[in-house]
């Protein structure tokens, strides 16, 4: 590694966020904080996804006149990988759905026991 480039930096940030997210998820007792942990975790994963699509020195995969083209709108030499960007879109939406559901659960759980401490919800065990 001669110098740290953008790809490495964002990958590192992604991993760090994931670890932070895990830390939050595993240590926080408050359900809302756990959900926040998951959001951080998801963000980290999303950054990871995008950074893996990075191609050094290339631009966004939207074809307009600013992008160098060869042949008929062939931009293969000048854009970053569009696939992870498509995937991350899906991942974000899924993350949104899950978070929404968790929050709804949090509301239900709070209503049931008037607490958000996760270790209070262990009716089922063993």
């Amino acid at each position: 590694m001669e110098y740290i480039d953008l790809g490495h930096i964002s990958l590192l940030i992604g991993f760090l966020l994931i670890l932070v997210g895990f830390w939050g998820v595993l240590t926080q007792k408050n359900i809302i904080k756990i959900i926040v942990g998951f959001s951080i975790l998801n963000t980290g994963i999303n950054i990871l996804i995008v950074s893996l699509g990075y191609v050094k020195g290339k631009t966004a995969p939207i074809i307009d006149n600013a992008v160098a083209q060869t042949g008929y709108h062939d931009v293969s030499a000048s854009v970053v990988d569009p696939v992870p960007q498509a995937l991350v879109l899906t991942a974000i939406v899924i993350g949104f759905g899950v978070t929404a559901l968790m929050l709804a659960y949090a509301m239900k759980l709070y209503k049931a026991k008037k607490t958000l401490e996760i270790n209070k919800f262990n009716d089922l065990k063993w």
């Binding site: 991993f15 670890l19 995969p61 939207i62 990988d81 939406v93 559901l101 709804a104």
Partner: protein, 236 residues
């Protein structure tokens, strides 16, 4: 405390695992695999200037259908388990007075936000953005609306209709792709020549249509979820 140390250890090992992965990463200098094809041929095959959109709506349209489904599912689940009755939608709660600034600004901003949202999803095949982004923007408008007036009564019948019709339309277009073109969710339902002129609004076949429906659906779903959250608060 012991537990936290243990977890720290776990995180450390996980970090080690990630480090192994990280150390195998090398920054790419050129495209590889399928992305090569998308960059080279995508514009020609799909006719969308935004390659990401081309992938999201057409190449991987089936994923998008799943995404929409997830949103729809979430909304449905929240609906049945926050369990609102019809009269709950009309109920009001006591709340602190919202700031004047917010109320006034919302009156100005909401139409603009809606308009912007619609712009984003209609031009998803040309510019950054698309159905999800547009839908989300619309939903922020709704969020603003709720914040400005927590007792606002959204017409949930309209929301349901929009949600339902746009969802069904998405599926129908998908099936049309099978009938009129090469497969489920194929965007060339107007034929290869019907892709329109590259880079204009009416191009890329069914993509703008699908994305519009997606936008509407996403906007409706998220609004719906927000509305449910808001309305179910009185139970608390």
């Amino acid at each position: 405390m012991l537990r936290n140390i243990l977890i720290a250890l776990v995180i450390l090992v996980m970090g080690y695992m990630f480090y192994n992965t990280y150390s195998n990463y090398e920054t790419r200098t050129e495209l590889a695999g399928i992305s090569q094809h998308f960059a080279a041929q995508g514009a020609q095959e799909v006719g969308a200037a935004n390659l990401v959109t081309a992938i999201v709506v057409t190449y991987r349209g089936f994923d998008t259908l799943g995404e929409v489904t997830i949103l729809f599912l979430t909304a449905s689940i929240i609906a049945f388990f926050l369990k609102l009755k019809d009269e709950d939608y009309d109920s009001s709660i006591d709340h602190r007075e919202t700031s004047e600034l917010l109320v006034t600004a919302s009156q100005v901003l909401i139409p603009i936000i809606f308009l912007f949202g619609i712009y984003v999803f209609m031009n998803g095949h040309l510019t950054p953005g698309g159905g999800f982004q547009g839908g989300a923007i619309i939903a922020t408008g709704v969020a603003l609306m709720i914040m400005a007036n927590p007792n606002v009564r959204l017409n949930y019948h309209v929301i349901h209709w929009v949600e339902s019709v746009s969802g069904v339309s998405f599926v129908v277009i998908g099936i049309l792709g099978m009938v009129l073109a090469g497969g489920f969710l194929d965007n060339k339902i107007f034929g290869q020549d019907g892709l329109g002129e590259f880079g204009t609004l009416f191009s890329a076949g069914a993509i703008p249509i699908i994305y519009s429906f997606v936008g509407l659906k996403v906007g409706a779903e998220i609004s719906n979820i927000l509305n449910k959250y808001q309305k179910s608060q009185k139970e608390a």
